[in-house]
């Protein structure tokens, strides 16, 4: 239990990179990148967790109560949304590739370029 969350984060990262490298379709590759990216959120929030802590929001608990680390949460939260717009940019590039070359298979694209 003491290292399981970190190991899960490492697994998600590795499996995402594996998918990215062996992908036969650029759309699928972008999806794998999103998977690899989500590993960073799991890692950050695991680092910030504290046994017995509640969410770091004091609208309904008294100041002084044990809470989990808000800094890592702030880092993860902005990146979730910003990461989605970067995914959109990558998908837009894939759409352009499909328009120009009529395929989204990296191997075929490599063959076309020669």
């Amino acid at each position: 239990m003491t290292v399981l969350p970190y190991l899960v984060a490492a697994w998600i990262f590795l499996v995402g990179v594996y998918g990215l490298a062996t992908s036969r379709d650029l759309v699928h590759a972008v999806g794998c990148l999103a998977v690899a990216q989500s590993s960073t959120y799991v890692l950050l929030l695991s680092v910030g967790y504290r046994h017995g802590g509640t969410a770091p929001v004091f609208s309904d608990v008294k100041p002084g109560v044990t809470v989990v680390d808000p800094v890592v949460q702030a880092l993860a939260l902005t990146d979730v949304v910003v990461g989605a717009t970067v995914t959109a940019l990558l998908l837009a590039l894939v759409v352009q590739t499909a328009k120009r070359f009529g395929t989204t298979d990296p191997d075929e694209l490599f063959a076309l370029r020669g």
Binding site: L4, L14, Y49, F58, V68, L77, T78, V81, V82, Q96
Partner: protein, 244 residues
Amino acid sequence: MSRRARLCVLAAGLLATAALLVAAVLRVPSFGGPWHPYGDRAVEAALRRNTANTVSAVNFDQRAFDTLGEESILFASVLGTVVLLRRTEDERTSEPRPVSVPATMRRYGIAALPVTLLVGLYVIAHGQLSPGGGFQGGVVVATAFHLLYVAIDYPALKRVRAVGLYEIGDALGEAAYVLTGVGGLLAGAAYLANVLPYGTFNTLASGGTVPLLNAAVGVEVASAVVVLLARFLSQALEIEGGRE
């Protein structure tokens, strides 16, 4: 390089990375431990400035400059997507065929729209008090409009949503964030310093500049998501042709 050789290189890289990650993980402070020096200080600072949601305090007060950077990445990627997915001269648009949606889906979809919109606005407005804020609420508000596409059809969504306005909204949100930061300079403090009165703890007008920056981000994210989905929808449903 042949496919087989590439796989061997990949396997070597993945195994080495895995070994390093496991070695690192075993030396990290164990999961759920009590030692969080940054977290404790961030909570203290947030409470000193009357911001109940400490995550918002970190984002829009203590690390406001970092959030400006994040916002700019968001702005730049939306700009890039808009440029890449615009209709080129040799492409033409065709009207998508009208589709019939089951009556129940239409009814519940339309009923869910105002509720979703309200929830999104609530989440943005209460960002400094309860879980939520501009980033989360913005996404909810933007997806609420797209219930029209699910419940009725694409032309209905297009009639209600004028993309041009949202492109302006995206820029205005970014500009409002930058200008609120300049307010700190004008008050004789640092850029993006929290110079407004901190207000009463646990009320809507608490946290100084936090609610303002939060609202600016809400406008930007909501507009950005509407613009992004509009570009993808029009590419997938309307635009045809182009050079080979």
